[in-house]
Symmetry: C2
Subunit: 403 residues, 2 copies
């Protein structure tokens, strides 16, 4: 599938590093670190899965206590999930080591893992590699590339992006790295996102902005509909831009939120584009909704329907499956008002098929980017969910790996 | 996939017929009729999709008015869904014709359709074939086979079964035909079930029994997680057994419910066994639940997870994906108490992997029938969901058909 270009995510005041510590075979990078030169506020959003990895438990706790964060340490290849009491103890040992080496409080180290579950973390390898990892920290594009590569699992490409904007003559930068694709064997891959900004913003406002941005981006992508045990998106703001503190409900907040949402959407889209076996990037937009919840339920029902996703893979303009998924969402709606568009083609008007030329539709379906628009015509709320198609390769990747 | 044997579903006092009226090509049967010789009580359960076919609207209304039913007419090849005002008018014309020819009230004709959506029903073909269909009505196994074949769409085999039991020296028979597999192109296939019994039972009690039976059977199967616009299961009781009327909360009710549930489970299983591209029959049992809802949400989350289903196709004993789907169900649970069994093998005990020999597990996974048991150990409620694996052929069948 077509890949989007990565931008160097470097933001003033942050350093990054990545290396191979031995969790994965073949010298593939598996340990990443990003550090802020100065104290920084932080916020994070974690998986909604009831089974969570010790890393999630540890980082959630530390962030609640400190409200700030100076370092993010991430390993790939092993999710440190379903590993019993040792799992949490390992998080403690690693964050203690990182904190000590960096000379910062332990509660300001954020830890995350991704990879195989049910296997204890090779703790010694991580501890042993920590001093070298710290010595490799740098501000160059190369350092950020190494960090973004070191958090990959089944991802085919590393993923990073950056956005900057000027508000009242002050330039603010937001950069991020992410990893994802679906959840595949060995056992699962996780969605991780780490965002860095030089804005001055308090932890509470940062959390609010992150949540709002995520609800239009990371929380609106679906490759196979599952939340892993390790998912998290964190943001760290080190204040290097020296802008007046961003306060909620101000023009400054709206500018920041707008940029953060754009960046998050770009990073999240890169995960979908790298979806397992994906051949198409699909935007399901539900508009004219009475509530956002109604619009979301319907968009999500369409975006997660195996029948819709296989039809997209088959390049079949199958409005019947889309309409059926709309009705199946468990949300109230008036079917006699529904319009459905595939790209720019109106397939269904007021709940009735328009019988457009199949030839035109099939041509339109061959595009790489597909937009499904569903207009409920009962209000002004909208939601967008981003997904990919369901292909042979999805089954292949997910079925053929045997332990 | 292994098919189960069909039993002749003939029940005293019912006649059946099926023929080719011309909706499908190649002389494939596409019109079925089952008639009770005497007035009969009836109950039905319909799709929960918000987009419903006119047949569902018509039959629901007629049944509400009459509380009884003498005839079921079903066409396959065309779902008469999303067909505008003509759809409902066609239902009226067909049921009127059937009623007139049989000399019964129009409100006692139940109509159902399955097949392509968005295309008007070829009404004339059905009307023209009705007298011939009625003339073919008979009580022989052959007649029932024809009827069960005439409701098929993408089904590879016809599906019928029968059960009988004796209660206080009175023999009661329950037989049924069904069709299903997934929902595939052209546009969708539907789950239909028609059950016939000679028991004496009032309409209200019959409805209650049907709902209870369906919640352990037809409502607990999932091939691809979608409810079509046309799904319905109906039961007709003609009283030919002359038993004392079955009343709720009596031993007689429990016997009837037990038999009806068994039959419904057998019919529903046949749909799963015929699932598109299915190679395995999978029972996901959640036990030790605090509530049935909790148990159901978790069982359904596991049974609909693409990751679990592709692992089953790949014969990979992947407890990680199962545990993740358990946590993903949106139901409260204590992960540290959860046991997971694959067939008889304990994979996870109290939320920790048991590290059983991979060789034993892989051998076990090669079985045709797979039982996943999840014990929450927090109560006594249980639920079972029946499903199949997700294979290349599922994608093939659903993607490759192009209009």
């Amino acid at each position: 599938m077509k890949k989007t270009k990565n931008k160097n995510p470097a933001v003033p005041g942050f350093k990054a590093a990545g290396l191979h510590c031995g969790i994965k075979d073949k010298k593939i990078k598996d340990l990443a670190l990003v550090v802020s030169e100065v104290p920084a506020t932080a916020a994070a959003v974690f998986t909604k899965n009831r089974v969570v990895s010790p890393g999630v438990t540890w980082s959630r706790r530390a962030l609640a206590k400190s409200g700030s964060c100076r370092a993010v340490v991430v390993n790939s290849g092993n999710a440190n999930a379903v590993t019993g009491p040792k799992g949490l103890k390992d998080c403690d040992t690693i964050t203690q080591k990182v904190a000590k080496e960096l000379g910062i409080p332990q509660n300001e180290v954020f830890i995350a893992s991704t990879g195989i579950i049910g296997v204890p973390l090779p703790l010694e390898k991580i501890i042993k590699a920590t001093p070298k990892l710290i010595s490799k920290l740098g501000k160059q594009a190369k350092n950020w590339t190494e960090a973004s590569e070191a958090i990959m699992t089944t991802d085919l490409v590393s993923k990073s992006d950056k956005i900057s904007y000027t508000f009242k003559n002050q330039r603010i930068e937001i950069g991020g790295i992410t990893k994802g694709s679906g959840m595949i064997h060995p056992n699962m891959a996780t969605m991780l996102g780490f965002i860095f900004t030089d804005a001055v913003i308090d932890a509470k406002t940062l959390k609010r902005a992150l949540k709002e941005a995520i609800d239009r981006s990371f929380n609106r992508i679906t490759v196979d509909g599952d939340n892993s045990t390790n998912d998290c998106v964190a943001i760290i703001a080190n204040g290097k831009a020296k802008n007046p503190t961003i306060k909620p409900n101000t023009p400054g907040y709206r500018e920041f939120l707008n940029a953060l949402t754009k960046l998050s959407k770009s990073l999240a889209s890169k995960i979908v584009l790298d979806g397992e076996g994906a051949t198409k990037f699909v935007t399901v937009r539900v508009q004219g909704g009475k509530t956002r919840k109604q619009a979301y339920l319907i968009a999500n029902s369409v975006a997660t329907s195996s029948l819709v996703k296989t039809a997209l893979f088959g390049e079949d303009p199958n409005w019947g499956r889309i309409f059926c998924a709309v009705g199946n969402a468990g949300a109230p709606l008036n079917p006699d008002k529904v319009d459905i568009l595939l790209n720019k083609n109106l397939l269904l008007k007021n709940g009735n098929p328009t019988h457009l030329s199949q030839k035109i539709l099939e041509k339109s379906m061959r595009q790489h980017e597909i937009n499904i628009t569903i207009d409920l015509k009962c209000g002004k709320e909208w939601e967008e969910v981003f997904t990919c198609d369901l292909s042979y390769d999805y089954v292949k990747i997910n079925a053929e790996y045997t332990t």
